[in-house]
C-alpha cells in the first residue's frame, strides 16, 4: 500500500468519494456512510446551483432542503464500494452525483478500523 517513505512519512492509498445530493437526502447518506463503517466525513452545505447555472455566492436562501450539499469521505475500496452500491439506485431514480477517486492519507488509523488494517 505504501508509496515510498521519506522522513518517516508514509502515503497510504485509499479511495475518496464525493457525493453531491439535495439536502433532503442528508440523513440517508449519513446512515449509508455509517453502515459502511465510515464514521468520519466532511460535509459542505449550500453548494446550490454550482455546475448548472454558475456560482451563486452569498445568495441568501431560506430553503435548506432544496439546497445541495456535498459529502466527502475516504476509506478502503470495500467501504467505498458499499457506499456507491447504496447510492447508485437512488441516483438512478432522482438527482445526485458521486465521484470516486484514488487518494492518499498519512494517518491510516483515522480512516480504516484496526481489524481491517490487518
Amino acid at each position: 500500500m505504501s508509496m515510498g517513505a521519506t522522513d518517516e512519512l508514509v502515503f497510504h492509498q485509499l479511495k475518496k468519494i464525493e457525493i453531491i445530493v439535495r439536502g433532503e437526502r442528508q440523513v440517508f447518506v449519513r446512515d449509508l456512510l455509517a453502515g459502511a463503517g465510515l464514521s468520519g466525513w466532511t460535509l459542505i452545505r449550500d453548494v446550490a446551483g454550482q455546475g448548472h447555472h454558475g456560482f451563486h455566492e452569498g445568495r441568501l436562501l431560506w430553503n435548506d432542503q432544496a439546497s445541495v450539499v456535498m459529502f466527502m469521505a475516504v476509506g478502503t475500496e470495500t467501504a467505498i464500494r458499499r457506499v456507491a452500491a447504496g447510492l447508485k439506485p437512488v441516483f438512478e431514480k432522482g438527482s445526485g452525483v458521486m465521484f470516486i477517486s484514488d487518494t492518499h492519507v498519512v494517518r491510516l488509523e483515522h480512516f480504516v478500523p484496526a481489524e481491517e488494517r490487518g
Binding site: 449509508l32 459502511a36 447555472h53 451563486h56 430553503n63 435548506d64 432544496a66 464500494r81 452500491a85
Partner: protein, 784 residues
C-alpha cells in the same frame, strides 16, 4: 454487504412516498403527495389514488355545489371543456362515475392492526406511565423481544430467530422476492399506515429530538416489523382499490380555479394605486391569509401602512420561552434553526421573574402530583372520590360559562405564578446551562435585520413607529390548537420572533451597520414586537410602550385596532357555523375559550392565492382572507435576490399549506384527520380515530367542512401573483429547480403583473406565457 447497501437504497426510494408527520405540539402543514411533486399533478394523483386508495379530486357533489353557487362560471367551464377537447365534460352528468361505485374493499388487515398496537406503544412520548420495555434498543429489536408475548401473532417467538438489526432482517424476509419487485413491495408497506410511517420518517431526521434518541426508530425498523407480521399472518400487501375519478374532474377543477383566478386578476387590474399619505405607523403582519382581514379593517380606519412578511421575520432561530425547559424551532421547517434565543426576565424585573419561575415550578409540581394521583394504582380510588366534586364543578363551569371559567382559571394561575415582564436575551451568552452558547452574534443580528428589511422592501420611508406582528390562535381542549399558530414559526406563536427582531432593529449598533449598507433608519423610529390573536383579532403589543411622540401614535393606534378588531371579528363570525353575531368579539373570545368548540376559527381555510407585491397593488380590495400577502418592492430588487427568496421559501410553505387543505378536503379520511368528535389523542403526539387507527395526518374534518358533506374550504390549487418584470421572474424560475417543478407540474399557477408594461401574464405549464385579463374585467381568450 453491498446487498444491504442496495437494500438501504431501495428503502430510501420507497420512503420518498412517505410524507413526514410532525407531532401536533407544533403543527406543520405538508403536502401529503410531497414525494410525487416531481410528477405532473394529474399523474401524481393517479399514483396516490392507487397507493393510498384515496379520492384525489373534489367529489361530484362539491363540483355541483360550486356550480350552483356560481363559484364555477358556466362559460369558463364550457370553454375549458372545449379546450381539452371534451365539450361534453361540462355537463354535470359527466361527473357521475362510469359505473356504480364499488364499496371500498377493506379486508381486515391483521398486519396493520398489530402494527398499530406496537407503533403506538413504541412511539409514545410520555402518555403511558409504563412505557414499552426495550425501547432504547430500537423499534425492531424491542418489537422482536416482545412479539412472542403478543397472543395475536401466530408464532411471535420466531422473531427471536431473526437478526437483531433491521436491514439483515428485511433481507432475510425478502428472500424469494424478485429484485425488481422489492421497491414496490416496500412502498406499499410504508403506504399502508402512512401516518405512523411519516412520523418515524420525521423523528428520524430530527437529530435533536430527545425521544428519537431514547427510542430510536427508522423506516427500516418499521419494514422489518411489517414484513415479519406479513409472513406470520400470510397476508399479502395489496394495493387498495382506487375510487374511480371521472375524466371530467380535472376540467371542472380547472374551471373552478379559473373562475376564481380570473376574478382576482380582473380585480387586481381594476384597482388603482391608493393615494399614499405618509403613515403614522407601519405594521408588519405575517403573510398568513388571516392577516389580510385585519389589515384591511385597520387601514380603513386611519393613516396606517401595513406590510406582509413571513412571520418568523427572517430569524432562523429556536426560541426558549420564559420558564420553558426546552427550546422549540421558530422558523419554517425548510430551515434548521441556527441559534437558540432564550427569553428572560426584562431588565429591572428580575425579582418578578424569579417569582414567576417559582410559581411556574409550583404549578408544574401540582400538575405532576395530580397526574400521579390519577395514575396511582391504589391511590386513585380515594382520590377520585375526594376530588370528584371539584372536577364536577369545573366541568359545569366550563360548559355553562366557558369565558367566565377561562377568566377565573387565568386569574388563579396568575395568583400562583404572577406574570412578569420578559425580554429576549439577544446577546451571545454561555450562562444558560446548556453546552451551546445562546443568543446571536452582532454579525448574525445585522444579517437578520438586513434580510428582513430588504426582502419586505422596507428600506426607506420608515414611520416613527414600526410594529412587527407575529400571530397565534387560541383554542382549548383541542389537539389541533397549534394548527392555528404561525406556520412560519414551525407551528408556534409568532410573538417571540417579532420581539426578537424588533429588539435587533432597535439596537444602535445594528442600525449603524445597516446605515453602512445603505439602509438608514431614522433615529426616532421605534420598532415594537406584537402578536395578532387570529381567533379574536386582538392585537397585543408585547414590548413596553415607548414614550415621546410614539406614545400618542400608539394611543391612536390602539383605538383603531379595537375598531378594526370589531370589524374583522364581525366579518369572520358571519362565516362560522353556529356563531352568534350579536357581539362578534365576545363570540370570538368564547370560541377560543370553549372546551366544547371544534371550530375556534377557520384558520387558513379557503386559501387560494399568494400575492407578492407592494400593498398599493392590493389596497382597497376585499380579498376575503383567501390570499397570502408578501410585500415586495420590485424597484428595490433589480437582481431578484429578494424575489428568489420569497418564491423558494414562503411560497413553498404556502404550497404545502394549500395542498394540505386541498387533499384534506377531497379525501378527509385518507389525507385528513377525520372528525374531531371521535378522536383519541395518542402518545402525546397525534390523534387516532376510535379504538385505534393510523396516526391521523392532515386537517380534521371540522377545519375544512362547514357541516358533514358540506365543504367550506374550496379545494383550489394555489395561484401565485408576482408584481415584477416578467424577465426577472423567468430568470429566477430558470435558476431554481423547485420552482420549475411546482409551476410545470401544475401544483402552483403563476400570474405575473409586469409593472413596466402593465400587462398581466399567466405562465403555461410548458413555460410559455399567455396574456391574461386586461383592466376591463372581461375574461379574454385563453389560447395557450
Amino acid at each position: 454487504m453491498p446487498d444491504l447497501a442496495r437494500l438501504a437504497a431501495q428503502i430510501e426510494i420507497a420512503a420518498g412516498h412517505v410524507t413526514p408527520y410532525w407531532p401536533l405540539r407544533g403543527f406543520i402543514a405538508a403536502n401529503p403527495l410531497q414525494g410525487l411533486e416531481e410528477q405532473p399533478f394529474e399523474s401524481a394523483v393517479r399514483t396516490a389514488a392507487g397507493l393510498f386508495g384515496a379520492r384525489c379530486w373534489p367529489s361530484a357533489g362539491m363540483f355541483r355545489a360550486a356550480l350552483a353557487e356560481g363559484r364555477i362560471d358556466p362559460a369558463i367551464l364550457a370553454r375549458t371543456a372545449a379546450r381539452h377537447g371534451l365539450p361534453d365534460a361540462a355537463d354535470p352528468a359527466a361527473l357521475d362515475p362510469p359505473a356504480a361505485l364499488p364499496a371500498r374493499p377493506a379486508a381486515p388487515s391483521a398486519v396493520n392492526r398489530v402494527a398499530i398496537r406496537w407503533l403506538a406503544a413504541f412511539l409514545d412520548e410520555g402518555q403511558a406511565v409504563w412505557p414499552m420495555p426495550g425501547r432504547e434498543l430500537g423499534l425492531w429489536p424491542a418489537f422482536r423481544r416482545i412479539a412472542g408475548h403478543d397472543a395475536e401473532i401466530p408464532r411471535g417467538a420466531e422473531a427471536m430467530a431473526l437478526p437483531d438489526q433491521p436491514l439483515p432482517t428485511i433481507a432475510a424476509l425478502l428472500d424469494g422476492v424478485a429484485e425488481a419487485d422489492r421497491t414496490v413491495l416496500l412502498t406499499r408497506h410504508l403506504a399502508a399506515l402512512a401516518g405512523w410511517a411519516g412520523f418515524i420518517k420525521q423523528r428520524g431526521r430530527d437529530r435533536t429530538n430527545a425521544w428519537a434518541q431514547a427510542a430510536p426508530a427508522g423506516l427500516a425498523d418499521l419494514l422489518a416489523l411489517r414484513l415479519f407480521l406479513a409472513r406470520q399472518f400470510a397476508e399479502p400487501v395489496a394495493a387498495p382499490a382506487a375510487p374511480p375519478a371521472p375524466d371530467a374532474a380535472p376540467i371542472w377543477l380547472e374551471a373552478w380555479e379559473e373562475t376564481w383566478r380570473e376574478g382576482l386578476a380582473a380585480r387586481l387590474a381594476g384597482s388603482g394605486p391608493a393615494p399614499r399619505t405618509a403613515p403614522l405607523a407601519q405594521l408588519v403582519f405575517c403573510i398568513d391569509v388571516r392577516s389580510e382581514v385585519l389589515r384591511r379593517h385597520l387601514e380603513r380606519r386611519g393613516p396606517w401602512e401595513t406590510l406582509g412578511f413571513a412571520g418568523f421575520f427572517a430569524a432562523a432561530i429556536a426560541v426558549r420561552p420564559f420558564g420553558a425547559e426546552a427550546a422549540h424551532a421558530a422558523c419554517p421547517v425548510l430551515l434548521e434553526p441556527r441559534q437558540v434565543v432564550p427569553e428572560g426576565a426584562a431588565p429591572g424585573a428580575e425579582a418578578a421573574g424569579e417569582k414567576r419561575l417559582a410559581g411556574l415550578a409550583r404549578l408544574g409540581q401540582a400538575k405532576a402530583g395530580l397526574r400521579a394521583l390519577k395514575d396511582s394504582v391504589a391511590g386513585a380510588f380515594g382520590f377520585v372520590e375526594a376530588a370528584g366534586a371539584g372536577f364536577g364543578a369545573a366541568m359545569v363551569a366550563r360548559t355553562v360559562a366557558p369565558r367566565g371559567f377561562a377568566a377565573v382559571a387565568g386569574r388563579l394561575a396568575a395568583r400562583v405564578a404572577p406574570p412578569a415582564p420578559t425580554a429576549p436575551r439577544l446577546a451571545l451568552a454561555c450562562d444558560d446551562g446548556g453546552a451551546e452558547p445562546t443568543g446571536l452574534s452582532p454579525a448574525e443580528q445585522l444579517s437578520i435585520a438586513e434580510a428582513a428589511l430588504r426582502i419586505m422592501g422596507l428600506t426607506s420611508g420608515f414611520a416613527k413607529l414600526v410594529v412587527l406582528c407575529g400571530h397565534g390562535g387560541r383554542a382549548v381542549n383541542n389537539p389541533f390548537a397549534a394548527g392555528l399558530d404561525c406556520g412560519a414559526c414551525a407551528g408556534h406563536r409568532g410573538g417571540p420572533n417579532a420581539r426578537i427582531v424588533a429588539a435587533i432593529l432597535n439596537d444602535p449598533a445594528v442600525r449603524q451597520g445597516l446605515a453602512a449598507r445603505g439602509i438608514a433608519i431614522p433615529a426616532d423610529t421605534v420598532f415594537l414586537g406584537a402578536e395578532h390573536d387570529t381567533t379574536t383579532d386582538a392585537l397585543e403589543i408585547l414590548d413596553p410602550p415607548p414614550g415621546g411622540a410614539q406614545a400618542a401614535i400608539l394611543a391612536r393606534l390602539r383605538g383603531d385596532l379595537a375598531a378594526a378588531q370589531r370589524g374583522a371579528a364581525a366579518e369572520r363570525m358571519a362565516r362560522l357555523p353556529g356563531a352568534s353575531i350579536a357581539d362578534p368579539v365576545a363570540e370570538a373570545e368564547r370560541r377560543g375559550a370553549d372546551w366544547a368548540e371544534t371550530r375556534p376559527e377557520w384558520a387558513l381555510a379557503r386559501n387560494a392565492g399568494f400575492i407578492v407585491a407592494d400593498r398599493g397593488f392590493t389596497q382597497g380590495l376585499d380579498l376575503e382572507g383567501r390570499c397570502f400577502l408578501h410585500s415586495y418592492d420590485w424597484r428595490a430588487d433589480a437582481d431578484g435576490t429578494a424575489l428568489e427568496v420569497i418564491l423558494t421559501a414562503p411560497m413553498v410553505v404556502a404550497e404545502w399549506i394549500n395542498t394540505q387543505y386541498y387533499f384534506s378536503t377531497v379525501d378527509n379520511s385518507v389525507f385528513g384527520a377525520g372528525s374531531k368528535v371521535t378522536h383519541s389523542v395518542v402518545g402525546a403526539v397525534g390523534v387516532m380515530q376510535g379504538n385505534g387507527s393510523d396516526l391521523m395526518t392532515g386537517l380534521p374534518a371540522q377545519s375544512v367542512f362547514r357541516a358533514d358533506g358540506e365543504a367550506y374550504h374550496e379545494p383550489l390549487r394555489l395561484m401565485t401573483v408576482v408584481r415584477a418584470p416578467r424577465a426577472r421572474v423567468e430568470a429566477i424560475i430558470a435558476r431554481q429547480k423547485i420552482l420549475r417543478t411546482l409551476f410545470a407540474n401544475g401544483w402552483v399557477a403563476l400570474l405575473v403583473a409586469d409593472p413596466e408594461t402593465g400587462a398581466f401574464w399567466r405562465r403555461n405549464r410548458d413555460g410559455s406565457w399567455r396574456a391574461t385579463v386586461a383592466p376591463a374585467a372581461a375574461p379574454l381568450s385563453v389560447a395557450a
